[in-house]
């Protein structure tokens, strides 16, 4: 069981909750390797994927997670929903509430949407990404992958590199790393930093090469060109030169340093193809972990062991 009803930001979770989720995900990961990848655990429970911003990866991951736990899952996407007819988020929430949904995964263009849903629904809310604010299940699957590959989380030095100010992934990963005793360093040109990186609890660096030798994990972020009002650096070439992960930098790093990326990747910008396809890159392991972690989150929020057969 978890200490919270909703997972809207990393603040909702205690360090114990995080360990519970990762341990539970471990057992679900084993299920995902079976030929028959299905458990009866959430039979009769309804999970809604309320995706009001385009998403394929995250939505698919939650959808598969719900199906593998035998929940009745349905997708409510922006293009198919009433929101294009001008319905407010509150009314959408009230409508879903009236249909007695048990858990709602929400992805929204604007920060704070999960909090708004939680105010007007009885269902459990899981934030699937709100604006540039948070994306807690991404942070959880990242922790899962780091723990799996490096054996522990406490004491790891994790460099999060790139578009910090537009990244809900960084918004959740920094506090998540702090909660498990790891050391986050955010690394970016000043134009891609949030106004007050210090309050996030991360160390701040403007030079990747300076901190590279200390890193156990290089977590490369996609540059979100679509969110920036002005081009935040002169060219992709210059960005790649100073902030891109490439073979030369891999060579200069600790031999055990792993490379991660939340996807989708801009190859040739923040990550070169040879690194992306190298054995030190764990991008696909992250995707794989995502299903297990989301199964764990749904299972634990909807009652854990009380909800039916355990994994």
């Amino acid at each position: 069981m978890l200490s919270c009803k909703h997972i809207m930001t990393m603040d909702d979770l205690t360090p114990e909750d995080i360990v519970t989720i990762l341990d539970t995900a471990d057992s679900f990961k084993e299920v995902n390797e079976r030929r028959i990848k299905k458990l009866p655990t959430l039979r009769g429970r309804t999970v809604v994927n309320l995706f009001l911003e385009p998403s394929t990866r995250t939505r698919t991951s939650f959808e598969i997670a719900a199906k593998r736990l035998s929940a009745d899952g349905l997708n409510f996407t922006a293009s198919a929903s009433a929101t294009v007819k001008g319905e407010s988020l509150r009314d959408t929430a009230a409508t879903l509430s009236a249909m007695a949904c048990d858990l709602v995964v929400v992805r929204h263009k604007y920060a704070g949407a999960p909090q708004m849903l939680a105010e007007c629904m009885d269902a459990h809310i899981v934030n699937g990404g709100d604006g540039v604010n948070q994306h807690p299940t991404q942070a959880l699957l990242d922790l899962f992958t780091m723990r799996e590959k490096l054996g522990h989380l406490e004491g790891l030095t994790v460099g999060i590199v790139g578009d910090i100010c537009h990244s809900r992934v960084a918004g959740s990963l920094v506090p998540a790393l702090r909660k498990v005793g790891a050391r986050p360093i955010i690394i970016a040109p000043k134009t891609l930093m949030p106004a007050r990186p210090d309050i996030l609890g991360a160390e701040v660096a403007y030079s990747l090469d300076e901190v590279l030798p200390e890193l156990d994990v290089a977590y490369m972020l996609r540059v979100q060109f679509e969110r920036a009002a002005q081009m935040p650096f002169p060219s992709n070439r210059e960005y790649a030169r100073f902030y891109g992960m490439n073979a030369a930098r891999l060579g200069a790093a600790k031999p055990g340093m792993i490379v991660m990326h939340p996807g989708p990747m801009n190859r040739g910008v923040e990550i070169s193809s040879d690194v992306a396809d190298s054995p030190r890159s764990h991008v696909l392991d992250q995707v794989n972990a995502g299903v297990a972690v989301r199964m764990a989150v749904m299972y634990l929020l909807l009652g854990g062991a009380d909800s039916g057969a355990a994994a």
């Binding site: 407010s88 988020l89 509150r90 929204h108 604007y110 920060a111 704070g112 949407a113 909090q115 708004m116 709100d130 604006g131 540039v132 604010n133 948070q134 809900r168 918004g171 949030p194 106004a195 007050r196 990186p197 309050i199 996030l200 009002a229």
Partner: protein, 429 residues
């Protein structure tokens, strides 16, 4: 008709008055102020334990009519004003259509005479449609009763256009009101850039976006000689710039709002859209600097920026909801609770900041408590208890940042030309 305000503490720093005495009014005009006044026939109002002030005026009100009557009307907005102790409001021009011609000013003047309960002074747009491109018919609007000019909420981006407007206004002796916001710097920001924008993942609106425009407009005021009034200043540096400009003798005045005085970004823990303001709530240090500037005279007036919005507009995602809070009905009670009752300001300061300061800044006719002047008077019960609830408002909208507050002190009566607009705390119909 005669009216005797009996035994109140009558305060007007403009005429050096602060005494428990009586005010005798006949035919809408103050005829005598003194002790133990008698009248042959008329009505006596017991003002014992009350404060009698020159009528308060709000320099910054959005009445929303014409065009957005579902938020507020001239009828409902002026009732809210009376309820809050104001004898007059200055109506911002960002209506639909924008108030940018003499005939639109005349509509507001006529509508206010017809449906309003306090005086309404229209503020005209500086540029046609508040688009920042060509001058609106400023002389025509002045002729129909406009008092000052502003593209409030749509600050004029072009320094050249602003200079032309200030030169033109100077010729008429009229004031330019500047909503100081450099839009490329504030670009889409919804909260103060800093701790809160970082923590809540919301776009930031940096202090510098206000300060560079304050600095620009002060320099243009010096260049043109036009009177400049800076609206709703929110940062420590902005009031410092005004302090410096005043010391150099530039004709600049400024206002601050109750929400910037009494709230700061630390209150924005969640996504309460009633706390979404433009300019945004700043830091506790900024707030302290604004209060200091009130006390030392740098700030000329407290203005509400009363900005009514309907629930369906405010109950949206934070980034989508409109900016603003209502303010007419809570301003005086907030000022008393946080500044007068705590002895940071005196009632004479309140008269300076809420009656004389705004009138001088915008060039309105003065209102004083002395024989021979029009009886525009606000009477305050400083011990009245107020709980701010949705039901308590006369405004059509209840998007108040102060909902749930328990406040001390309230206007009990408002007299306009000797007639009651507010009597015993209730608006007179």
């Amino acid at each position: 008709m005669a009216l005797l305000l009996k035994g109140g503490r009558v305060i007007d720093p403009e005429v050096g008055l602060d005494a428990v005495c009586d005010v005798l009014i006949r035919d809408g005009v103050i005829v005598e102020i003194g002790t133990d006044l008698k009248m042959a026939k008329g009505e006596t109002v017991d003002c014992a334990e009350k404060i009698v002030l020159p009528g308060l005026v709000d320099a910054h009100t959005h009445l929303r009519e014409p065009g957005q009557e579902y938020k507020e009307t001239i009828a409902s907005g002026t009732r809210a004003a009376a309820h809050g102790g104001f004898t007059a409001v200055c109506a911002m021009p960002n209506t639909d259509p924008v108030c940018d011609t003499g005939s639109k000013v005349r509509f507001i003047v006529e509508r206010a005479a017809d449906a309003g309960v306090v005086r309404v002074h229209p503020i005209g747009a500086v540029t046609k449609g508040q688009k920042g491109e060509g001058l609106a018919e400023i002389g025509d609007m002045l002729g129909e009763g406009a008092v000052a000019f502003s593209d409030d909420g749509h600050p004029i981006a072009s320094a050249g256009m602003t200079r032309v407007a200030m030169d033109y206004l100077k010729g008429f002796g009229a004031t330019l009101i500047s909503h100081a916001e450099e839009a490329e710097l504030s670009g889409g920001g919804v909260v103060n850039e800093g701790v809160v924008s970082t923590r809540l993942g919301l776009p930031g609106w940096p202090s510098a976006a206000e300060e560079v425009m304050v600095a620009r407009d002060i320099q243009l005021a010096e260049l043109t000689g036009c009177r400049l009034h800076l609206a709703h200043l929110s940062t420590a540096r902005s009031v410092e710039l005004v302090r410096e400009a005043k010391a150099r003798g530039i004709a600049v005045t400024c206002e601050v709002t109750p929400h910037h005085l009494f709230l700061d970004e630390d209150g924005l823990l969640g996504y309460d859209t009633n706390l979404k303001m433009n300019p945004p709530l700043r830091t506790a240090e900024d707030r302290a600097a604004l209060i200091e500037a009130l006390v030392d005279g740098t700030v000329d007036c407290i203005a509400t920026d009363h900005a009514p919005h309907a629930p369906h507009e405010k109950e949206l995602e934070f980034e989508l909801a409109p900016f603003g809070t209502t303010g007419l009905e809570t301003a005086l009670s907030l000022v008393n609770t946080h500044l007068v009752a705590t002895e940071k300001l005196s009632w004479a300061d309140v008269a300076r900041l809420m009656a004389h300061g705004p009138r001088a800044a915008l060039g309105l006719p003065p209102v004083t408590l002395e024989a021979g002047t029009t009886a525009d008077i606000t009477i305050v019960d400083p011990e009245a208890r107020v709980e701010v609830t949705r039901e308590w408002f006369y405004s059509n909208s209840c998007n108040s940042a102060f909902l749930g507050n328990k406040l001390l002190g309230k206007a009990s009566d408002v007299l306009i030309g000797g007639y009651f607009a507010l009597r015993n705390g209730k608006v007179v119909e």
